[in-house]
């Protein structure tokens, strides 16, 4: 009896397989995109902004009936995974998205310390990856499948160094950075190089490691060295502590920062100690172009807060990816990668960007913001 049932089942299965085999091959009915985000860990706001903007970008496409590729409209499905802001989890998430969820492309990770290991996985598996926010050159260096929506640190370091010299008239600078994090280390070194090349002097180059809460001995040394400006290329959760402790020690020189500052949490955590400080970043919500205006308004309506740079860059990453999929004309990782590599010009929320074959880094400009009355306010633009 059991044997009979088994035989019938087997026959049915085989028939089914045969049927599936003939007929026209039904291609994938959806476009799967993975998001590798820092939802928990040291910089949870980055992950939240990334997830929000990704959800919004995908909802916009799906509400319009889906993405049209080669004459067919496909719905986009999102797989959001948490990398806990850890390098090893980020690599594991990338691997999981590729092998288990079988995604067409990955957006994220955001922080360079997570994006660099994830990029190695994506490159090996030949899956296109776009990091919205990673600015360390190593993320895309020597890789064919990895792209980013942000500018890179040598450029940013130059922008901040020039700003400190020209606008703040600084001759002597001090730097305090997290030596255990790729982004902070990279940009601190680029800043030092440009500042010294331009005739300035870096009088103090101090370090700490991720998670430290006390910087008083480093700041004491910095104060002794007598700099005109202090550069803190660190993440938003640590910068307020550093600025507050500097003020407590009576160190009141101007402080400048980099795009890792660009979260409203910075002001929430730092309060009035942050007033008047400058940092370089990707876009300024208060002087937005029409494309950006539309994005900012719908983001505000949906999530109740002004989108930060991570949200804007994630939205742009999806914009780039959708454009690449459309121009590839098929749902194929290689074709999408080739299309991404030669996007001639893309008008995004964070400004105009273009890619050249042979590099995953876009050519785009940076802005300097100032914190005024608890708000990020546009100060100046630095062209590439």
């Amino acid at each position: 009896m059991l044997k009979k049932i088994l035989t019938i089942l087997l026959a049915l299965t085989m028939a089914g397989m045969a049927l599936a085999g003939c007929g026209p091959t039904p291609g994938p009915v959806e476009i799967k995109i993975g998001v590798n985000a820092e939802l928990t860990g040291g910089i949870p706001v980055v992950g939240a902004s990334c997830k929000n903007a990704a959800t919004m970008a995908v909802a916009e496409v799906n509400d319009a009936g889906g993405l049209e590729v080669g004459g067919t409209k496909y719905k986009v499905t999102l797989f959001v995974q948490d990398n806990e802001d850890k390098a090893e989890s980020s690599a594991a998430v990338a691997q999981k998205l590729i092998t288990q969820n079988n995604v067409l492309a990955i957006v994220g990770a955001n922080a360079s310390r997570n994006a660099i290991p994830a990029a190695a996985i994506a490159e090996d598996a030949k899956v296109p990856m776009i990091s919205p926010w990673s600015t360390n050159p190593k993320t895309t260096e020597g890789k064919k499948y990895v792209f980013r929506a942000a500018f890179i640190d040598p450029f940013q370091g130059r922008v901040v160094a020039k700003f400190a010299m020209d606008q703040l008239k600084a001759k002597k600078a001090a730097v305090l950075y997290d030596v255990a994090s790729e982004y902070n280390k990279g940009i601190a070194e680029f800043f030092k190089k440009t500042f010294e090349e331009a005739g300035g002097q870096v009088v103090s180059f101090e370090t700490y490691t991720t998670g430290d809460k006390d910087f008083s001995s480093q700041l004491t040394k910095i104060k002794n060295a007598g700099p005109d400006v202090l550069f803190l290329p660190n993440y938003y959760s640590e910068v307020p502590l550093q600025v507050q402790q500097a003020h407590k020690l009576g160190l009141t020189i101007p402080v400048v920062g980099s795009d890792s500052w660009g979260s409203e949490e910075l002001i929430k955590l730092g309060g009035k100690d942050m007033e008047g400080l400058f940092f370089s970043t990707h876009y300024a919500p208060d002087i937005a172009a029409p494309v950006a205006k539309k994005f900012i308004d719908s983001y505000k309506a949906k999530y109740g807060s002004t989108p930060d740079d991570v949200a804007a860059l994630t939205y742009d990453s999806f914009g780039l990816l959708f454009q690449a999929i459309k121009s590839a004309g098929k749902l194929d990782r290689q074709a999408v990668r080739d299309a991404l590599a030669k996007i001639p010009s893309y008008e995004g929320v964070t400004g105009k960007m273009q890619f050249k074959e042979g590099s995953g880094d876009p050519i785009k400009s940076a802005v300097i913001l100032q914190i005024k009355e608890g708000k990020f306010t546009y100060f100046s633009t630095a062209a590439p």
């Binding site: 939240a48 101090e206 490691t209």
Partner: protein, 353 residues
Amino acid sequence: MLRRVLESLSLTDSFMWLTGGAIVAVIVVGSAATLSMGRYSGRHWFDFIIFGLAQGSIYALIALGYTMVYGILRMINFAHSEIFMSGPYTACYVAMALSRSGFLESQPILSLAVIFIVAMAVSTVIAVLLERIAYRPLRTAPRLVPLITAIGASFFLQYTFRGLYGSGFQAYPDIRMLQGAWLLGPLRILKIQVVVILAAALMMAGLYLFIQRTRIGKAIRAVSEDKEIAALMGIDVDGMIVRTFVIGGMSAGAAGVLYALMYRQVHFFMGFIPGIKAFTAAVLGGIGNIPGAMLGGVFLGLFESLGPNLFLDGLGVPSPNQLKDAIAFIMLVMVLIFRPTGILGERLAEKKA
């Protein structure tokens, strides 16, 4: 005599002593070089010491919880860092509400009292529940079982609080009374550091008297010496264990508020590093020994604050502060080489060996 000593030395022993000697040599040479360089004035050293004391007294308060639970149950309560986190994290919302209503501004002392009470109450409740649910059913299980349970409980609590309050950082509001500094002649002391040191010292003195002078304290000591005999003497063993967790929870909650007032940030993962450091402090002082935990905490805080600048600056190590944790743990290794039972661990070794 000398030959007997040499014969009794094994290879590992001599290796350890050599390592210890080398570290001592580095410390002496480094400190001499730094001091002769004269890069830091007396005022700077004073700042480093005060900061080290403040940090150390927080470690000491947390270490009390580790050491008392170890003393009474012979287990390391790895979830203690979450007991430390739960109180101030919850009290942060109270503090923010007080700040919004303006009460914090008009009645800072009363508000601080409310914040402390809420934090200590939450930490205590968590500690007692932990004992009741996670540890008591395992009282007779092999020693590794409660240890693993403690690690599990630690994760459970971390992610419960993450679920409750989200994964973001929260800022403690400004308390104007605690800002700024006092001037003592040429010296400048931050008010908050003075408050932290005094509050911690007061609490530790109170606890010490409680353990040494009261009937309950005596009973707790009796239970930690020998549970069976204590039970035969009519002491409620379970009750004393609960009281130990209550004391540990209260001091962790208070330490948490002091920590949050100093750094003004709370986060669901904030307990991990201070917890590890406090555990180190407890071992440093001799685990199971209450004055030892206090001493170990202060010792560790001072070394973390003074160590990098005093030992390494003179040797020309660039930016030595990143080696702060390495120095703290090398100190632990040093103490364990020369005094395997910790600074005050001798009596413990005799009693419990």
